[in-house]
Subunit: 458 residues, 2 copies
């Protein structure tokens, strides 16, 4: 046994040791004060270790047992910390971090049409996507997010940036009726998307989703092709659906039906659909989404900030809809703090259902872990700390603002806990250590963010 005592100097980094035969960078024993497993029994274990070999979880056992059973593994001591699965942010536009705070206090239509789209038209490029995505991923790691479901242009660049950071992502193969720097036509969006899908097929940390922007920006014919391709290739469909009242009303005026009815007609309402926002729903639509097995992606803070509305998630839960939570892009949030987003989601669900018991802590936490993994089709690999799954996990060291601890789940959700995330691993590789990023250059990211802002502000 090689035990390394905890210290703030970083000496427990398994990546920096590894002189034993059975000890590579992705094999170690991780000791924690609490282990929030997010397994089917929602077990929370006190004074347990996670045993990781070659990036996979092979055991979860009391401290002493783990050391006895795996004497050759190095020990990472986080005995005062809370260990839990890495978080899954189910809706991002990572590169839009470069527009954080660029145009606040504006409704969605004005914000998109007068500010975001013209700026993107002027600056969108692989470099823009690379730098914005890097800024966002650094923020994600510092908030305990290990997996993102992203939708943006140049998904190949997004994937490369995610891989360089060592993270996990579902990258969206975006489709729009209007041309951009990424593609000049619907055909080109789809063909470039399929080519990205093929290139990334063997990357263990990356999956893809078709990402038609929204029913009001992608016409019927490409949506039909996407429905077919999604079924053939078993690839999810990630789409904004019923984000604002105005968008639903104008669609209805033009097409004589609501967007969800159109999606149903096309065959897109199924368990492969990740329907984002859903702030405008009739009772019948809620029932239909439940029957069809659609996944709802709830982005409460963006919906509040743009005054789009509030998704009726208590009703969606009652209808059996699987729900994941996303931050949306930082330009309409303005942060990627997923645990903070979940807190907002829980609070809103309580007040809108007139019941403080709605969406209690444990149920809420599923929406950024196991239920989010399910939505992305990744529940066999991530979303809970169970034997056989990848070691995507984080440590939260309870700060003063989380004390005292009566119920660790409640403290993780109802306090600003993400600021206390100290360590992050993806597939057993450590990416954050004592709040220091190990795979990204913080100074370079800061500098490039300010350089882009200076250019854009001109």
């Amino acid at each position: 046994m090689t035990s390394e005592a905890t210290s703030s100097s970083g000496s427990t980094d398994p990546a920096r040791t590894g002189n034993l035969s059975n000890c590579n960078a992705n094999s170690f024993i991780l000791e924690a004060g609490w282990v929030i497993t997010m397994d089917a029994h929602m077990r929370v274990l006190r004074e347990y270790s996670l045993v990781v070999i070659d990036g996979r979880i092979v055991a979860c056992a009391p401290w002493l047992d783990a050391m006895t059973q795996y004497p050759d593994l190095i020990v990472v001591d986080r005995r005062s910390g809370i260990l839990m699965p890495g978080l899954v942010n189910a809706h991002t536009h990572l590169a839009m971090n470069l527009l954080r705070g660029f145009a606040d206090d504006k409704p969605l239509k004005t914000w998109l049409e007068q500010h975001v789209w013209p700026t993107e038209a002027a600056y969108l490029s692989p470099a823009y996507v690379r730098d914005g995505t890097a800024l966002a991923l650094a923020e994600c790691l510092l908030c305990g997010v290990t997996t993102v479901n992203d939708m943006y242009f140049f998904p190949d660049v997004t994937a490369a940036t995610v891989l360089s950071a060592g993270m996990r992502a579902t990258v969206g193969l975006i489709v729009l009726d209007i041309p951009t720097a990424w593609a000049g036509s619907v055909d080109e969006y789809i063909s470039r998307g399929l080519s990205v899908h093929d290139t990334l097929r063997d990357e263990p940390l990356i999956t893809t989703a078709f990402a038609p922007h929204a029913p009001y920006t992608v016409s019927r014919e490409p949506l039909e092709r996407i429905a077919t391709l999604s079924a053939e290739l078993d690839v999810p469909v990630h789409m904004h659906v019923h984000e604002t009242a105005e968008e639903v009303q104008s669609f209805e005026r033009e097409h004589g039906m609501r967007p969800i009815a159109r999606l149903d007609e096309i065959g897109l309402l199924n368990s492969s659909l990740l329907a984002v926002h859903l702030t405008q729903l009739t009772d019948a639509e809620i029932v239909r989404l439940g029957e069809a097995g659609v996944n709802a992606i709830h982005c409460p803070e963006s919906n509040l900030k743009l005054a789009s509305g509030v998704s009726p998630i208590a009703d969606l839960i009652a209808a059996g809809v699987n729900i994941a939570v996303g931050t949306d892009g930082a330009a309409s949030n303005n942060d990627l703090d997923l645990l903070g987003e979940l807190r907002t989601a829980s609070f809103l669900a309580k007040v809108f259902s007139d019941n403080a018991a709605t969406l209690p802590a444990a149920q809420a936490l599923r929406m950024v872990t196991i239920d989010a993994a399910k939505a992305l089709g990744l529940a066999e690999h991530i979303g809970s700390l169970e034997v056989g799954k990848a070691a995507d996990c984080i440590i939260i060291e309870p700060g003063l603002g989380m004390l005292p601890i009566y119920d660790v789940l409640a403290q993780v959700i109802y306090t600003q806990s993400s600021q206390y995330v100290t360590d992050v691993w993806v597939a057993g590789k450590q990416l954050l250590q004592h709040r220091q990023l190990l795979t990204m250059d913080t100074d370079k990211i800061r500098h490039s963010a300010q350089t882009w802002a200076a250019k854009i502000s001109k």
Copy 2:
């Protein structure tokens, strides 16, 4: 001039230097990248210094000018930071930090009657108030809060703990119909309160407010006495008003009028009233509150978490009501992050008014600075960075999650900025330095929080 370059080692602490005649602990030049003044013109200055002598602001000038004009003062270099007024948390129950996470996901009535009140009955004591308040104040400083408006038992202990931390507070002289460890009768609540008021009269950092708990827990006669005393002594009245629908309805059944009508009858609706919560208001009540000059204290997160409702602050603003924001106690929030609370307040105001332009960043920030100071009757002394006021100020060093910066006000409010508060001064005395508490013992506070929780959990 004694210039000390910035460093993370803490060498710029003026309290640790001071070998020059004109340089005491509370006199220094504080250089910042941005100065958010919160003055009448809402000026935001780039590359300015605040000049502080004997704890008061004597000038605000460009970096070079300040050094030239005050060559004998030491210089605290926070050139990459955002300098702004210390924040004012307008409604707290500090000692309740010990019950953070003790009973979540329950509505107000159950939460109070079955969980909080029985526990308080069992454990309430001066030691409980001291330890809970210390935990809360440490959290406040780490969130940039320098002034609190508190309501709890043993306000003498609260005041002593605040003074020991070097902070500023309005302590509530609580009154209830039911007896507690603090007082056995309404008469005793009032007499003990007056005695605390007299004792603290000459403390520059402490003021008092009468704090009758609520119209449904304090009967008419003591409220009448408090109305008279408030006018005679020029002391504000801090009270929960219309927090839940149930409380309003049951009052109406019992008394044939709504609580606000009762307060109006008694003469309590005036500019000395700090009316907390106000989630249940008729249009006529909103108009009346505006006419009467009442101050509304908005606590959105507690109201959401207990499913109490949402205060119609866009309408209150339109009626001319002065609004401050509070976190409420950590047992119903569950944190004291005031900037996070303000973000929630702004988001809710937007969605409930169906307008993303409602409560823009600059207006929102007034509610935790100058408008909150106004509500407490302290606007001559604090709430903005202006010559003649006390040097209650904080530094936020923009983290990755705040970048890039287009509009510094928006980034302070719409991102999780409180985690980046690095330094805090009250009346020119530094209380937080590079996120280290200078006047409080962190280890002792952590230990006592866990000790109390262990006792209470039994």
